[in-house]
Point group: C2
Chain length 136, copies 2
């Protein structure tokens, strides 16, 4: 699957998001790379050629994408949030030295024996993060 700028408009519309120029650029940054990006990285990518998207818009847009379920948030690094264009069920492998973050398909992973939830609560998600480090 190729993610072109032209595709983006449809993708945004299908998630009930009005496709503006900035939103298309931000979606394109995420989906064409299929990588985990921080707001800062999105900002840098979108403004490489010439500055055209403000910091406020980058943050607003990423939050909008999140609310609309177009992207997912990954919290592994205490200093910044990563945004993940992959919303399918998957887990993460985090290389603590380098900060590199990669996906682990949830299909083959099984988690069992979790205690029952407190009453009146529903699971919003289960995050599994494997933290790895280069062998000493």
């Amino acid at each position: 699957m190729h993610y072109t700028r032209d595709n983006m408009a449809g993708l945004l519309r299908s998630h009930d998001i009005n496709p503006t120029h900035q939103r298309i650029e931000i979606a394109h940054a995420l989906f064409s790379r299929q990588e985990h990006l921080s707001a800062d990285q999105v900002m840098a990518i979108v403004n490489t050629r010439h500055s055209e998207t403000s910091k406020a818009t980058v943050y607003n847009t990423l939050k909008l994408f999140l609310e609309k379920g177009l992207v997912r948030e990954v919290i592994v690094d205490p200093s910044k949030v990563f945004f993940d264009p992959n919303t399918g069920p998957h887990h993460h492998l985090y290389e603590v030295d380098t900060g590199k973050l990669s996906d682990i398909d949830a299909a083959h992973v099984q988690i069992s024996g979790l205690p029952p939830l407190p009453p009146g609560m529903v699971t919003e998600g289960i995050d599994l993060i494997v933290r790895v480090r280069r062998k000493a």
Copy 2:
């Protein structure tokens, strides 16, 4: 098990940490409560009666405790790190609305089917976070 200030000195020594007044207070804040505390919360607790520990010392000390394996870091909230006096194997339940964080004993939880690690890497830890929300 009761965690008194007097106990703390021994606990610190057993982790190769020179027990100073500030370090004892900070350890006591964490261990007497057995709760997940942010740096800010530790700061507030330690300085309730009268200000006696600086922000720099709180951060330095928590980092030292972390390095020495006396506490563990829990990253669930993008805005702040929590410090966990429980270093035994366990997972976390996070109530996203309230920010309440509680432990899930790892004894009965089983995680299987994880892919092999990239060569030359070792697992530093596996964090499992169950994010829950009050039912709509």
